[in-house]
Symmetry: C2
Subunit: 408 residues, 2 copies
């Protein structure tokens, strides 16, 4: 018997039939004696329907009322799932975020959880009932409804698991786990049985959108065992674990993440003076553009080449911001490229293995792939290449690091 | 400057455009300095959509979860109306029943209001904000969401008006007031400037479905001035007043109510023994059938004729129930008629005027309308006639009692 928190996203509860399928799955866990808390999102499409209604009455809907509006989406799902469970003779009770209560700060539309009162849930679990909790929402100390922002249902699930000291937090989604890389690009991509929180964070922030980053951070911080599973097929999924000791058996890298939606901008021949980085990135940041990789090379002549990447959608805006600041920079040449892709090797094993980067560069060189930017962290090596080489490069790296082979 | 509680039903907030129209109306009250609390229902169609979803997962959805589900309907409306008000630069804040808080007992789907906390509303009104409150819903003492039952938004409005000691509770609907009778039957039917609570109760229970009976009772009990107005056109509507003294200027009757959806059953020649009424009505009541009018005539031979009316939908069921009890009644003849209509004259003026009943009978006789049942109360005279005479009878009575003439 275990205490399990399960989270089902919008697609998993998108129709009455799917809600019934979720109820049947929960019932199986109850049958084998587990205590279950279920966190659900709004039925797919519902949140967008509500946002459209809001846009019909206000071009910039006030955040407090927006939270009152969109929080109804999950409230509908909790009621329906509780009904479906009771139809299967499984005792169940639904709770809105405010009823649990999930206490947050008052930052409407992106509130942070401050405190969870687990008394009602404890009473239900002790009485053999399933608790069905609305994800994504909470209540501030004045009783206002808040939301945690899109995807916040994962965070709710992890927070409840932490508060209840659950044995496992299971995130049901439309994929059956975390893969060594995108199976659509590499057909020998393999589901990982486990991955560390740190690796998952790097994978998630690089476009493996299985889990919301915040929920992974949260799970790592509170030491909640997290498992990603498919709500449409059976299987063990991928367990996300704490990297409490260096496992010598662990492969050097766990996965390859990549993203196509970046663009790079190079400021060429700016004066190599203190503060030049701020002078370049200040205007970009002022334009509310997030910068990802940053690389600076000092040339021989006292000038510097400064390159950074931004989201492809911000490419034009970033170039415009720099153009306006050009005079202050001594009118350097500003060049850009939005046909780039970023590829990252991720693995905590890197810490104890030298040579990951050089093997990566060697592999890419052997395929004739030119690297235009490099950035490294403790558990990640990222390179920027021309977008046209993306698939070729990912497949070559996947094979070179033997990711298609099961871990020893 | 007055404190006004306004209630808008589902049709009045059925689309984004109508919600904007409500916001504009509320804004006009704010402009002239009134403090306004608005109670809204779910957008028309929304409650039925939610009920259908519930029926998809459970053939008899548990009441607690049904309340969680359907209460989202009003929650959507309060958010949208608050946004629409703010778009017009009118300060506004939305509240669910639980947030206000409207404390009820725990009878899900037909809860009764026990207590209202007016502190949040007072603070908003003092700060110049409009409070937009979800109708029809509340919260029990354990924090469970409850609903007051269909049409409960009227009750919410009256209860808030009582708690806030509002100057007026305005119920906006799709008719512009209470009429002397149905204008579709009598084209000279006239809107009443005022009507007493007692009269309104008799009119409402007889099929003039302008207001929910419970809200009228509530308003009478707490002495809340209630006004029925149209949300689609301007006008003073009808004020529902306390009948604190007999007004000699008041016309004898205020209106004519009628209903077609009744049927009558006669038990002919049952033994005139003590307990015969119970023996006849017991089986009917056991079958969960509500009985409306009851008339008993004692014949000369120690047998009695006993007639009662039921809703037309219960006609067959009531006859069946009696048939099963027939032996105990001495196998009397049981005859029925479901082609009947009930017509009632309603007016507190009857109390001080004799002869209303006889004038009514005379008028009907002059038109050749046969009366088959009569029942009277202090402010009402009801007759049952063949359904085919309904329009003729109502028009004749409307003219005979000069209801088409404005009150003196």
């Amino acid at each position: 018997m275990a205490l399990i928190v399960q989270k089902y996203g919008g697609t998993s509860v998108g129709t009455v039939e799917r809600i019934q399928a979720v109820a049947e799955r929960v019932a199986r866990f109850r049958e084998r004696g587990d205590q279950v808390v279920v966190v659900v999102s709004a039925m797919s499409g519902e949140t967008n329907r509500l946002i459209e209604l809001a846009n019909g009455v206000h071009d910039n809907p006030p955040a407090r009322e927006m939270d009152v509006l969109v929080s109804t989406g999950e409230q509908v799902t909790i009621a329906l799932l509780s009904m479906a469970l009771q139809k299967l003779n499984v005792g169940a009770r639904s709770y809105t975020g405010g009823q649990v209560a999930i206490r947050t700060d008052n930052t409407h539309s992106k509130a942070r959880i401050e405190e969870i009162d687990d008394r009602k849930m404890r009473a239900d679990l002790d009485a053999g009932r399933v608790c069905v909790v609305a994800g994504f929402q909470g209540i501030d100390q004045d009783g206002n409804i808040t939301t945690l922002g899109r995807g916040g249902s994962d965070t709710t699930a992890v927070a409840l698991a932490a508060a209840l000291k659950a044995d496992e937090c299971q995130i049901y989604t439309d994929v059956d786990g975390v893969y060594t890389t995108d199976p659509r690009v590499v057909d020998t991509a393999r589901r990982l049985d486990s991955i560390t929180f740190e690796e998952m964070l790097e994978m998630a922030s690089l476009g493996s959108k299985v889990l919301q980053i915040r929920s992974v951070e949260f799970a790592g911080k509170y030491n909640v065992p997290l498992r990603v599973l498919s709500s449409f097929q059976e299987g063990p999924g991928t367990l996300i674990t704490v990297d409490d000791e260096v496992d010598m058996e662990k492969p050097v890298i766990s996965g390859i993440a990549f993203t196509r939606d970046e663009a790079k901008i190079t400021v060429r021949g700016a004066p190599d003076t203190p503060g030049i980085a701020f002078k370049i990135l200040g205007p970009v940041s002022d334009a509310n553009i997030e910068v990802d990789m940053i690389v600076q090379n000092v040339g021989a002549d006292g000038a510097t080449d400064f390159t950074f990447t931004v989201h492809r959608n911000d490419f034009a805006k970033a170039k415009e911001a720099l153009k306006q600041a050009a005079e202050e920079l001594g009118n350097p040449e500003i060049i850009g490229d939005d046909k780039i892709a970023k590829i990252s090797l991720v693995g905590v094993g890197m810490r104890s293995h030298a040579g990951v980067a050089s093997k990566m560069f060697q592999t890419l060189a052997a395929e004739g792939v030119n690297i235009t930017m490099i950035s490294t962290s403790e558990i990640k090596v990222s390179v920027v290449v021309a977008e046209k080489y993306l698939e070729l490069a990912v497949r070559a790296l996947h094979q070179a690091f033997e990711l298609d082979q099961p871990a020893a």
